[in-house]
Subunit: 394 residues, 2 copies
């Protein structure tokens, strides 16, 4: 008696991973340097030296039982206190250790928060283009997956469409800022408008609509772009954070959930998230990483590598005639597909060993996602291929 | 719209964690040396030195991107190959890397496997006494949680009761060997009988009933007890393993799922488990740990510390008049509660700063679980308290 939804999810793997696997296999044939893999957001900047140094120091100088033992399910109290302090310093909020839950990365965090916010008939919204794994997270929770169409060409939030779609069944909306796959940043003004809408609709429906703020890219912004800290604008916000991108630790699975007590039913929501995570097998976040974070949570990423890639690509691609959303966050560029067919273009690019994700996989056909977390050399050597591909459409 | 089941799970925390938290708080008042905490199975033997050495070496000498980057969702291919080889060497099986999925510990593994084996109306069985978290894992999957009564006093599997309870809705039975909370080992003979029963019933019902073998304690056995490798007896078995106990790494969240291809619909089941894990937010197991395991998967725990505790406690408690199941695996002793009321006894013990779990929490009232993964000194100094408690019942 095998669960058919699970089987479908496990058989048709997510396209990003498929394309990345293809890239690895192809690299084995033609050589790594001849594959231009812009498919997956695996950071290309090493973790800050302080992180490895902290881990080594802990492994060499702390009692093994303390390093590798279970922590509290909520996470080590000192690490949570350090993170709360860091949030308060940077965003002027009033977070405390007991509003945080340390988890194995943003993916299980979002999945657990969706579960905690699902009652029978509930629906959870995402804004296109969206990270495709939101669909399985929302659906495993038992909620209906609802997509708000993209706001083109500004790639802010399509609040007119959201207003029409919100219903008495709406439990939450997921906001991913900076955005994957676009690389755009939702402005303070946008979030303020969203907040006003949700406040009004919460009153109208007689229950709170929460924001799930998925923010693994919060620290990755360029040209002075500002990422608003959503709980400061709309307190009924659960923040899901990960150190995957900011500290280049994606394989280590480390992040936190922040549930402000001032959110409506904030304490109940915090406990419901703990309960949801527990049922999925959350025990604690990796303990060595927790200890290292108590020393490293304040570190910011070195963005110069990503920024150079970003500027080089954006400039050259614009020159070749590509249109794109303004790339100001994360490490993504979202291109309008020449000819309008993203799947066809992605295939044509693949034939030249250039791997880019079709926007259709993010609920936004006609566009293409480029991850520019690659070697600069890869960027430079890929440019003639981009040029050649565009020329075929002239 | 907060999920009431999640809220209940997150508010009423699991008693083990509650008792352990109580112990920590009480220790802050009366001093750690005056708390006799036998409540939680946090290993008291340090991780093998090779594990820390491997981690340090990897951190100091490998490329940070390779150490901390995403691995394949399935887990690093080399680590999986090493684990498969280790299984084959030790159990004479024919495991391959592509039958393994590396995960963040046994808890999310069992939760995902339950999900993958759940269709509408499905029921999953556990044998009392059982690890209490099975209930939320099974129920989050949407299956009915069914408990087979304990087999007292031998604490093998109550197969007569199981046979009566199995129904056309039965999807799987969970077998936890060596057993938590009893510390008993299900013998090869017991597993062979279970296998014959499930084979017969699978034929009768026209669908396969799977075994979910939860085996974090597989390496922790004493006095030559043998833990049968269940897939060798019943191929329709999914093994959920964790390095928490064998390598004393419970906080690090590292384990694997083994799905034999020779199991009925084995490949579909493997993919369904991947799909179920993905929906819960599985991305990969912690990457540094994966790399370390490629060097350390063959290591066995040093059992001398646990064994000394086990023998000292079992001998003294028997002398004081306690009755117990034969403790031959894991690090648990399961005592018959003097007076018959485990909750009352646990309370009386708590008043003397001796923390032991009531069997009621494991579906087996009238018994008490002692975790002997503590300092030897704690064992020795706890004995007069056990003696005194028993004397009050004379």
């Amino acid at each position: 008696m095998i669960n058919p939804q699970s089987l479908a999810l496990g058989t048709k793997r997510n396209t990003i991973m498929e394309l990345a696997d293809y890239g690895r296999a192809r690299a084995a044939i033609v050589g790594r340097e001849n594959i231009f893999d812009f498919s997956i957001g695996n950071p290309s900047v090493p973790a800050p030296a302080e992180v490895n140094a902290a881990m080594v120091d802990i492994l060499q100088n702390m009692d093994s039982l303390a390093v590798h033992g279970y922590t509290s399910t909520l996470g080590d109290p000192r690490t949570r206190a350090v993170i709360a302090e860091d949030l308060n310093r940077r965003f002027g909020c009033d977070a405390t250790a007991d509003e945080l839950l340390l988890c194995c990365g943003a993916a299980p965090e979002v999945s657990a928060v969706c579960k905690a916010l699902t009652t029978p008939g509930a629906e959870i919204f995402v804004f296109a283009p969206y990270f495709p794994e939101y669909k399985p997270y929302i659906e495993q929770a038992g909620a209906a997956f609802r997509v708000v169409p993209a706001s083109i060409p500004d790639f802010q939030l399509n609040l007119e469409a959201l207003e029409e779609m919100l219903s008495p069944n709406t439990s939450a909306v997921i906001v991913n800022n900076p955005n994957n796959p676009v690389g755009s940043v939702y402005t303070t003004e946008t979030i303020e408008k969203l907040s006003a809408l949700l406040e009004r609709k919460s009153q109208e429906f007689g229950h709170r609509i929460y924001i799930i703020a998925d923010e693994p890219y919060r620290e990755l912004v360029y040209e002075g772009a500002v990422v608003p800290f959503i709980p400061n604008i709309y307190p009924h916000t659960v923040v899901c954070y990960s150190y995957s991108k900011s500290l280049s630790l994606p394989g280590e699975r480390m992040g936190y959930i922040y549930v402000p007590t001032k959110a409506q039913d904030g304490r109940d929501l915090y406990h419901a998230i703990i309960g949801a995570a527990r049922a999925m097998g959350h025990v604690c976040a990796p303990s060595l990483l927790q200890l290292a974070l108590a020393r490293c949570a304040h570190l910011l990423p070195d963005l110069s590598t990503y920024d150079r890639n970003r500027r080089t690509l954006a400039e050259a691609l614009a020159e070749y005639g590509y249109e794109m959303a303004k790339p100001e966050g994360a490490f993504y560029i979202f291109l309008k597909a020449p000819g309008g067919d993203d799947l066809a273009f992605s295939q044509k690019a693949m034939a030249k060993d250039l791997l880019i994700m079709p926007g259709s996989d993010f609920g936004c056909p006609g566009y293409l996602r480029l991850c520019y977390c690659v070697d600069y050399d890869t960027v430079v050597r890929s440019l003639p291929i981009f040029k050649e591909l565009m020329e075929a459409y002239r």
